[in-house]
């Protein structure tokens, strides 16, 4: 797959183009230019390292939405076996913006659920750009309840711009569907591991992100409102999105410092999209450890910890009036 470069990656893109050209020349050249290629490749790597060592929140937000970033179904295909997708909320429709089903993780039965984005236009429309409607959240809840019934751990992947703001979505109770999930996930009697793999867009993300552990990939984001939305409300123009991204504190590192995220999973050099294989290995290791760790705890202890953690969210001061 030929990489797509973001605007701030242009110097890397130029170098990569040059390497590509040289490779092409090398095929029918008598001269050996492999040394030159190797030199440029090293340079490109160093440049990538330099660029990625000082990404701004707004650049990270671009990486989190990179069109070649692995999506939920990519993780499912690589980290799980025997995936049996289960469809529908049993009352209205099947929402393709959320996928879910039974699968094996290292041989163990799990329920895996996640937002699903897409790469080509037709598929993007079918997946509604990863923006679920109420039936998506209700399907997710149905699958979680199924997992609970059979004592199967739940693994969720979060990657959405947000819940869909549409007429039908409102008519069918978008608010209720999200609120219901928050309420039910609090007391779901199986381990729940949540990982933000791309874009954690507000309530639409949170609706499948209440659990025992919250991971974030290094260049994923998680925010109460999109930087663009925040900018258009507070700065009255979406063009100030980069300032909003900075102010909102949406990056994995910042949220870890704030105590809202448990673990930051490092991504390959240049982001998950540059090396899917390596990203899979890194995330698999983390999920493996967490599943094992959670399995040692009795479920009541797990639920107690989950509740304590939920109650601890927020910062305030206490002083008598």
């Amino acid at each position: 797959m030929k990489p797509t470069f973001l605007d701030f990656e242009q110097p890397i893109a130029e170098l990569e183009n040059k390497i590509e050209e040289l490779r092409f020349v090398q095929d029918d050249s008598v001269l050996d230019i492999s040394e030159e290629i190797a030199r440029l490749q090293k340079k490109s790597q160093e440049l990538t390292k330099a660029v990625y060592s000082k990404l701004t929140p707004s650049q990270i937000s671009q990486v989190s939405r990179h069109p070649q970033r692995p999506y939920t179904l990519d993780y499912i295909a690589n980290l799980f076996t025997d995936f049996e997708e289960l469809h529908g909320d049993r009352s209205f429709a099947d929402d393709a913006a959320i996928v879910g089903g039974l699968a094996r993780f290292n041989g163990q039965s799990v329920m895996v659920i996640g937002h699903q984005k897409a790469r080509d236009t037709k598929e993007k429309i079918r997946r509604n750009f990863g923006m679920p409607r109420p039936e998506g959240y209700r399907k997710a809840l149905r699958l979680m309840k199924l997992a609970e019934k059979f004592g199967v751990p739940v693994i969720t992947f979060i990657d959405t711009p947000g819940a869909y703001p549409g007429i039908g979505a409102e008519e069918r109770g978008q608010s209720e569907a999200i609120g219901r999930n928050l309420y039910e996930m609090t007391r779901l009697r199986v381990p729940v591991i949540c990982t933000v793999i791309g874009e954690g867009g507000s309530g639409g993300a949170l609706a499948i992100a209440v659990g025992d552990v919250l991971n974030m990939l290094q260049y994923s984001t998680y925010s109460v409102i999109s930087p663009e939305g925040c900018a258009s409300i507070l700065w009255k123009t979406a063009e100030r999105a980069s300032e909003a991204a900075e102010a909102l504190g949406i990056t994995a590192g910042r949220l870890k410092t704030l105590g809202l995220v448990d673990r930051v999973v490092n991504e390959p050099l240049g982001g998950a999209h540059r090396d899917h294989g390596q990203m899979m290995i890194a995330l698999k290791r983390v999920l493996q450890d967490e599943l094992k760790e959670l399995a040692t705890k009795p479920i009541d202890e797990l639920l107690k910890n989950r509740m304590e953690r939920l109650m601890s969210y927020g910062r305030f001061k206490e002083e008598s009036a």
Partner: protein
């Protein structure tokens, strides 16, 4: 512009617009924003801010709301000691602490939720009300914590919990901590459920975003005030997304009840008695006279 306006010289036009509201002595007269009837403020107040002419439900401040719902005797405020902090050093046009103190000066409140323990027609309850004038009734850490403390007080007193929502959603200035208040408030309701205590959720104009999509619809009974705008996404956002004109009355209480989203629409003037009846029924207690 009407023909009369066109005839008037510009200066008079400007004057008439600028002086109209202030020509009315502050606090004596009030104009209904729905039917434009001019009303004695005291009449409007005695009618619980419901227009006697057109029944439009005007917005109500948090403490006034609790006054309407709770008996006068034996009230105790809960969570007043919880106060906001600027976690992110958030700054847009204005620093967040400046926004907070401006909101404090406007409303006399420290944050957007007021919680009180008391009774309703003699039935012990804990009731919470949103102050919409405090940064749009937005939910940040303090709102979440006060909500939880209210739920805990209800559990201790074995009393039902009531919340009257009026909010634009989560408070952006506290970033992800605000989003997490959605999970926190919803989780607290599990504790109330485990104690088998009722939660009555009253949705007033407006109840949107993160408040709507968390505890608001988790009521054992969900009540809408007449004409209240209630929804996840704001009408403007939806219009921009779907590029269609929204149906008449979209996201209003009357629309929601038709869609099956709420249990009932209750006129504010009978809200206290209605909630009391519902609570005694759920608690299997005799009717209150």
């Amino acid at each position: 512009m009407s023909w009369l306006n066109k005839l008037l010289p510009p200066k008079i036009k400007r004057d008439s617009r600028a002086t109209m509201p202030s020509a009315v002595p502050e606090g004596l007269w009030s104009k209904c924003s729905a039917c434009e009837a001019v009303l004695y403020y005291t009449d409007l107040e005695a009618n619980l801010q419901v227009c006697p002419k057109c029944n439009h439900h005007h917005s109500v401040r948090a403490r006034a709301r609790l006054d309407m719902l709770l008996d006068a005797e034996g009230r105790r405020e809960i969570g007043a000691e919880v106060k906001p902090v600027d976690i992110l050093k958030f700054k847009d046009g204005k620093r967040y602490p400046d926004r907070l103190s401006a909101a404090h000066n406007d409303t006399g409140e420290d944050d957007a939720l007021v919680v009180m323990q008391g009774s309703m027609n003699g039935v012990p309850v804990v009731a919470a009300a949103f102050e919409f004038k405090f940064i749009g009734g937005s939910m940040g850490s303090v709102v979440g914590e006060r909500f939880v403390r209210g739920v805990q007080a209800a559990i201790e007193a074995k009393a039902p919990f009531i919340c009257v929502a009026a909010s634009g959603g989560a408070r952006m200035q506290e970033g992800l901590n605000s989003l997490m208040q959605m999970a926190k408030t919803s989780a607290a309701l599990q504790l109330l459920t485990e104690a088998r205590l009722p939660f009555v959720s009253v949705l007033t104009d407006p109840t949107m975003g993160g408040v709507s999509a968390s505890f608001a619809f988790l009521g054992d009974v969900v009540i809408g005030e007449p004409g209240a705008l209630i929804g996840f996404a704001g009408p403007r956002v939806i219009e921009q997304t779907v590029r269609e004109t929204l149906p008449e009355g979209f996201q209003r209480s009357e629309f929601l009840i038709e869609k099956g989203a709420i249990d009932m629409i209750v006129d504010r003037r009978v809200l206290k008695d209605k909630i009391t009846t519902l609570l005694t029924l759920l608690l299997k207690e005799p009717a209150v006279a």
